[in-house]
């Protein structure tokens, strides 16, 4: 194909290869000259990082009236950021996903003020290998704010979580933050589909890694962890705002792609007595939000690749994002922030790369779409 058919990434890699080939012939003095010249060229083109992240006003810094109606004194607002679904292969195999993960880390590090913490939303690795998880750990170590880790199915099903837990600790845990109770779940357990089929660990992982591979089971939090969740919440008053992090959406969106948690209703029932619950989930790689009863749900963006909206089951409250441009490696991807308000509700900022950021206000969800509707897409799903 002609040169103009190449993607931005293809051109970048070719240019890079050409430069590296050229550099091999240089002595040290000439190399330093080239280095200085390229730095100058980069400055001249205004290509200094971060060039993709656009700051958005911080929502509602002051306590508002709704805090009183929620029966709370109004805890201080705070902001946390997220990076999710990096799907890293070993660095030698695939540099695209590494560049994207690094870009997200740079974005978050450029935030001023810094977020209280950074949630990593799961699927750090693509095929659950130690080399991939190690690479991810190195990249996330560059974050200035403390990191809260969550596990995804791509991290888990090679060795059923051995390496991930060795590196990051238990996959489900909770902590309190500025008056909010935060729960991190491991929501991607699957019933054993591999033993009867005599699968190797690699085959099991490969099966789970295929979104449309129907052989695998559906995600679930499971009996044990739901019991753990009930016990964990036993001491938390119902007026305390809850933040729940899960890799899969804790509702049923589209079964065939595991945009789904099989025991979602049971988990929702445990969360039902609380005035304000916000669930932040990964896995779906798209702008996605929903409201079920007292629970607001926000999906996170991926850094690796975007997913199209599923053919059925999209929550009616979700306003679709524009389709991603396949010719732009970073389009439809990004990271984001969540502003937890004094009333315990949470606004979500989708920090899309190569696009304007989109803010989804909690008011939009809790009013069931009556106010603060996010902007409509020009190009929704086919």
């Amino acid at each position: 194909m002609a040169a103009r058919h190449k993607s931005v990434e293809t051109k970048y890699m070719e240019e890079r290869d050409a430069v590296l080939r050229g550099l091999r012939g240089l002595d040290r003095r000439t190399f330093l000259k080239v280095l200085a010249a390229s730095a100058g060229a980069v400055m001249a083109k205004s290509l200094m990082p971060p060039h993709t992240f656009q700051l958005v006003e911080v929502a509602n810094a002051a306590p508002d009236k709704s805090a009183a109606t929620a029966g709370m004194a109004g805890q201080p607002p705070f902001t946390f950021a997220y990076v999710s679904d990096t799907h890293l292969y070993p660095r030698t195999l695939n540099q695209r996903f590494v560049r994207a993960a690094v870009k997200a880390v740079e974005d978050v590090n450029a935030l001023d003020p810094q977020p209280d913490f950074v949630l990593f939303g799961g699927d750090l690795a693509q095929l659950g290998r130690r080399e991939e998880l190690d690479l991810g750990k190195q990249i996330l170590a560059e974050l200035k704010a403390p990191v809260k880790m969550m596990v995804g199915e791509h991290d888990w099903f090679y060795d059923l979580g051995d390496t991930w837990q060795e590196m990051f600790g238990p996959p489900n845990y909770s902590f309190d933050w500025k008056g909010v109770h935060v729960v991190v779940l491991m929501s991607v357990h699957e019933k054993d589909f591999w033993t009867a089929r005599k699968m190797t660990p690699a085959e099991r992982m490969h099966t789970v890694a295929g979104l449309d591979n129907g052989i695998q089971s559906r995600f679930e939090v499971g009996d044990d962890e739901r019991k753990w969740l009930s016990d964990d919440l036993a001491k938390v008053p119902h007026t305390t705002p809850l933040l729940v992090f899960s890799h899969s959406p804790l509702y049923k969106y589209y079964r065939n792609w595991n945009f789904w948690t099989d025991d979602a209703e049971q988990v929702q029932a445990i969360l039902k007595p609380y005035n304000h619950v916000t669930v932040i989930h990964g896995h779906t790689h798209q702008m996605l939000y929903n409201q079920i009863g007292n629970i607001s749900f926000y999906g996170m963006l991926s850094t690796a690749w975007p997913w199209p909206y599923a053919p059925t089951g999209l929550p009616t409250l979700t306003v679709q994002m524009n389709r991603a441009d396949p010719f732009d490696q970073f389009d439809g991807l990004g990271d984001g922030r969540i502003n937890v308000r004094p009333d315990g509700l949470a606004d979500k900022i989708y920090s899309l790369w190569d696009r304007n950021p989109v803010t989804v206000k909690a008011d939009y969800l809790v009013s069931h779409g009556k106010t603060a509707r996010p902007p409509a897409p020009q190009f929704a799903s086919y």
Binding site: M1, L93, K198, L211, W257, W305, W307, Q329
Partner: protein, 244 residues
């Protein structure tokens, strides 16, 4: 099919195994956890010839005077298959073995006398033309052939390496169930390519760029199979060429 052609096909299959030319769609069938295809161990030749084995994996004989890589003459191949089948029948005296050649082929039947013809006549439908004369069996064979073609495409769609991909990326990673491939919208002006594109142009573009493989020739069986799979996933969606 005559007995002879069955036996010849058998011998050809065995010869393929002997030569180590077994078609094994790599990851994809494994992904669906099907047991691996059996590999038959052919005994060593004792007299410097070539050992040929039946597809039962047990019955074999040595063709003397034949060297590896040489072809048998037609007459010799017929003789070898006859001998192999005779050997198999001796070892399985109680197996029911129908010799197709001795079966009476169904007599040519007028369309009116056929089951399809009788049905059409009873319902007052048009009769007697070529397509109306095909049987249920014909349709099953065609469906099977088509579904196999689509399944080949599905395998490739889920296997970046099979498309020459070099960075672990396969089509299904961005397009589960071939979603967001919208084959019904081509041809259309693809602004990034600066030309009117067909589905195959976009497939090739994806192979070359996100997958980091080599673009396929339009007649490459892999490209045809990919097209088949993608189109099959959009059954029932109205054609809407030029749609953006």
């Amino acid at each position: 099919m005559s007995r002879r052609s069955i036996a010849l096909a058998t011998a050809a299959g065995c010869a393929a195994i002997l030569a180590g030319v077994a078609y094994a769609p790599q990851v994809l069938r494994a992904q669906q956890a099907q047991p691996p295809l059996p590999i038959h161990q052919v005994p060593q030749a004792k007299d410097g010839g070539v050992v040929v084995m039946l597809c039962d994996g047990k019955t074999s004989m040595e063709v003397k005077g034949l060297k590896t890589g040489e072809s048998m003459s037609h007459a010799q191949a017929v003789e070898v298959t006859r001998e192999l089948m005779a050997q198999w029948q001796r070892e399985h005296p109680n197996e029911k073995w129908e010799i197709a050649q001795t079966e009476q082929a169904p007599a040519p039947m007028s369309y009116a006398a056929s089951a399809a013809g009788a049905k059409a006549a009873s319902k007052g439908m048009q009769q007697g033309d070529t397509y109306a004369s095909f049987t249920e069996r014909d349709y099953k064979i065609w469906k099977n052939e088509t579904d196999n073609f689509v399944a080949e495409g599905k395998d490739l769609f889920h296997d970046g390496a099979a498309l020459g991909g070099t960075i672990g990326v396969s089509c299904d990673m961005c397009h589960p169930d071939a979603s967001n491939t919208h084959p019904e919208t081509y041809p259309k002006y693809q602004v990034q390519l600066q030309k009117v594109a067909l589905l195959r142009d976009m497939i090739d573009w994806c192979i070359e760029n996100p997958v980091k493989g080599k673009a396929l020739d339009p007649n490459d069986p892999k490209l045809r199979a990919l097209e088949a799979y993608i189109l099959a996933q959009r059954k029932g969606v109205p054609l809407d060429y030029g749609k953006h």
